[in-house]
Subunit: 107 residues, 4 copies
């Protein structure tokens, strides 16, 4: 089962700057060979469910090992059985819908 997730890891008890911890998660995801895309409030990850979830667990382990005693993450998880859909497909599909509306202002 393929999954696309959107993950935001928040370490507590380490002050206000969390970028080093988020960067460590990025490295975990990349080292796992997973396709991912960072954005301003999380990271999109695409892959097989077990591999993606193993990376999410490893993020928590690594961030704890860096000294964060508490972590609260939020995640969206999307699966579908009707067809394959990549992260690029999802964005392209919205952009096509935007184009259609732009070319038909009455829509």
């Amino acid at each position: 089962m393929k999954v696309i997730v959107d993950l935001c890891v928040v370490p507590l008890g380490v002050g206000l700057s969390v970028s080093a911890y988020v960067a460590a998660c990025e490295r975990v995801i990349r080292e796992a060979g997973l396709k991912s895309q960072l954005h301003a409030y999380g990271t999109n990850i695409e892959g097989e469910w077990d591999e993606v979830m193993a990376a999410v667990k490893r993020c928590h382990e690594v961030v704890h090992a860096m000294g964060a005693p508490r972590i609260t993450s939020s995640m969206r998880l999307g699966t579908r059985t009707d067809r394959e859909q990549t992260m690029e497909d999802k964005i392209a599909s919205v952009e096509r819908a935007l184009d259609r509306a732009a070319s038909d202002p009455g829509a």
Copy 2:
């Protein structure tokens, strides 16, 4: 590693009533022997990381098997290494803080 998660599973393509799918997830979680508590917009689950995540995966599999071709879930995941904390501890801790404030209106 223990985790407390808050899970909300949303099946798409099955119409407006999603209670049968949410109930199926509840059964998955209970059959896994995990401690859980349903609320109006999700379910709290407490347990070992691997067992909780296996149940979340099983929820997606079961909801797909019931006929939902697409699922989008949202989840919070909390881990801590400083001390054990149960779901009841979390609620009791907020309620004690509410009591303290009530007995000291100047606080």
Copy 3:
């Protein structure tokens, strides 16, 4: 437009214990006269969109005023136009589905 939200407010830069901040949000919600129910990983709130969102904003303001320089919240927001549905309705609907399945193990 009525909304049911599930809100989890996370203050950063204030150490590991966040219960005083969560309790302050509870007071904000109650003082706004909104129906709400605390759980182990957030709070369900039900009411008119503008009133609920004003309370969510007030939560951020109050938690900043208590000394948290940074806040990251996560929220689910549900609206429907087909019919009215309360928080109790949502839970009852899942519980009925659980009962149906229990009385018909072949379902």
Copy 4:
């Protein structure tokens, strides 16, 4: 109060393809003059709290008006009082942390 949110709007009861509804939300956000960035599982939005929240409400109104009888959205909301921080700042901060680690493999 400035806020950076990450919004994912999910219409129910309209079948499996949700891109037209997501595109409608994008138009709402752009017409509000808000800075935003689409990703594969949501949209980052940056601006004054009241303006951002007005756009989120308008998204629900527009998606209902397009025929979706039920909507469930998930959102992250970040505010800070210690300093201004844009969406670009957040990404640049993580990328600098990635660079530092790359140039110091022992870190």
